[in-house]
Symmetry: C2
Subunit: 386 residues, 2 copies
């Protein structure tokens, strides 16, 4: 096992009705900016429940945060936080709303120049406005981690930043708040969480049986519950609860502790969203099978373990197990409604060239998370997926 530090002080309030505990978790004198997305929370009752719980607070609102949240939009909220002396941010929404709110929290007190620089130049964040979360879409795990991904419209760039200062003080996870989601978004969440696990698992063995079995347990649950979610006519509480908890556990640091990670599939996928606006999970479903095929000769051991323990593939030699593994994983994504080939989205060689050029232009300092994947291989991975 590798050495590690693990520290995750996010408080989780899990279950139906937990939104009523907001007042026990936000200072009584806080001036709150409540952030949200396109307004679906006003149609499904979540908005009213949050406002009711916050009846005794001074609450301002900032709506309109888009999927793949934009830097330009978030910067408008930064101005409000500064001008109105906001001292608590409450994100009510999915991963995009939470990530934008994390950026707002870090950008408001930022003492440098333009806040984009702490993302693009990976400058450590020194402080942030405290924030809480009411989650409406299980997927990214952002409700219990220090990560955020922001898209800059002007330059078509989608990039991540990380800071312990933007970890939520608490996150309310009420599975019933996900009932109004279209099936496509539930499926997106399942695929996103599944690939999160793989970026921490399908790497190189370091003798970490607890972490490996936790990862396998999350993936087995996502397969079972993802299929159930797609097949059910009406939402089921336990189904949504299990997807929610699996997605949170997939990216809160537990399964990453002491193992080797590689976030290549995410980094390549981000570029497909940046250039073509594809859903984040869909980009992962497109890239991953190509990625698996590229690394199968060097990551054989973990891939065979993945095949055996998650997909119950026990026949044949290692390479035939892995080929079947790739097929089954791709099929699962298609069952979840993903069109997993670039050509199915009208994307071809031109985009691939642009993506490879972009990675090259950023230089080596952006590559450490790609681990064993070379720049030339990025093009080869994508060409397999046309």
């Amino acid at each position: 096992m590798l050495n590690f530090n693990f520290h995750n002080p996010v408080k989780i309030l899990f279950g139906e009705g937990k939104v009523t505990e907001l007042p026990q978790n936000i200072p009584a004198d806080a001036k709150i900016l409540m952030t949200y997305g396109g307004g679906s929370i006003k149609k499904n009752g979540v908005y009213e429940q949050v406002k009711k719980a916050l009846a005794n607070y001074n609450v301002l609102e900032f709506g309109g945060i888009e999927p793949n949240p934009r830097y330009e939009t978030a910067m408008k909220a930064v101005e409000i936080v500064k001008n109105e002396n906001i001292d608590f941010l409450l994100a009510v929404g999915g991963g995009s709303v939470v990530d934008a709110t994390k950026f707002i929290a870090a950008a408001a007190p930022y003492k440098g120049g333009e806040p984009w620089e702490f993302i693009a130049q990976a400058i450590p964040v020194q402080s942030a406005v405290p924030l809480g979360v009411v989650l409406t879409l299980p997927a990214t795990g952002t409700e219990m981690n220090k990560n955020a991904v922001i898209t800059r419209e002007a330059t078509q760039e989608k990039m991540a930043f990380y800071s312990p200062h933007v970890m939520p003080q608490f996150s309310v996870l009420d599975p019933s708040f996900t009932y109004s989601l279209p099936k496509r978004q539930v499926a997106n969440g399942v695929v996103d969480a599944f690939v999160h696990v793989l970026e921490q698992y399908m790497t190189y063995p370091v003798n970490s049986p607890v972490q490996d079995r936790f990862s396998e347990g999350i993936m087995l649950t996502l397969i079972e519950e993802g299929r159930k979610a797609i097949s059910l006519e009406t939402p089921d509480y336990n189904n949504r609860a299990n997807i929610t908890w699996a997605a949170t556990m997939a990216l809160n640091g537990i399964i990453a502790s002491g193992v080797k990670e590689c976030w290549a599939t995410h980094k390549i996928g981000h570029e497909l969203t940046a250039f073509h606006g594809l859903d984040h999970a869909l980009t992962l479903a497109i890239v991953l099978p190509g990625f698996m095929n590229m690394v199968k000769e060097r990551r054989t051991e973990k891939m065979v373990q993945f095949a055996e323990r998650v997909w119950n593939i026990t026949e044949g030699d290692d390479m035939s197990k892995i080929d079947l593994l790739i097929e089954k994983t791709d099929s699962f994504f298609r069952e979840m409604g993903m069109l997993t080939l670039l050509s199915e989205h009208g994307i071809g060689l031109e985009t691939i060239d642009k993506i490879v050029e972009r990675f090259k232009s950023r230089g080596d300092e952006r590559l450490p998370l790609l681990e064993d994947v070379t720049l030339n291989e990025i093009g080869d991975i994508l060409k397999q997926r046309i």
Copy 2:
């Protein structure tokens, strides 16, 4: 899944050499009381490494904390904390040293009468001196939770208390610090952690596949690594690392989130230690098979799942699976060196009567954690184990 709150802010510093990070985690001006046990840390080099890391601090010491730490001993340290204005406690040892230190941390600022009352009367702790941990024996999980168990010599009572205020600020888990442990103590840790998992798992189904698979993953690891630890001539780093991480994950709240717990085996076991001084893990190994036999008609579903997924028992009907499950679990404890019958320790009906009387005399308010186990059944469970 049941509703739950989860909040575990303990920082884990895991791996060889992590003790050198102590100064980044203790305030520079802290006056530290370092607590430890019978002095084994002075023989195996841990004491020197801790003292070296704390070279720039004002450090007082309190040694001599015994296994099943005594209230009477801990109260002497409480006096030192008060008289010397100690503002940080550093526990260097196993579960007993850590638990005693948690009690010292809570008792020093306690404003009520005799501190025993917040244990015996379950009065919520209001504050505690901050504490950190350098762990030398993986077993109890106390390094990453809010629990402590204290024994009062005068009345032969062993009781637990719980407070978020006594969660360690950090815990250093260096697997190499366990190398000098006798095999008996490693085996104790494996059995203790294994039964911790079962008290959170072998209850009633609530549709919690992530938590169930995490529990099964920890148990599978403890079986594999426990057997390896017993068979190895010299300690192996990864073996000790995996036992350590499994034991920590077994009782840090993760696998308890959203499921039904029942701590009956622990509560009954504590009485065997209180009356006869048996090792904690040994008492669990004695009680558990009898307990399993008692509840098998009502906890059938989770017990069959345990049989199938952990012990790979797939043949026969439910009750024959469970009977084999009990046999295999008992055999595993015996493999770990436990003599799992009361008669093997010269204990008979007289002690059983005293234990049942004690539970009865405490009245109903001490029973909530026993869930579905009645007072009369406690006697029956123990009689099976003579």
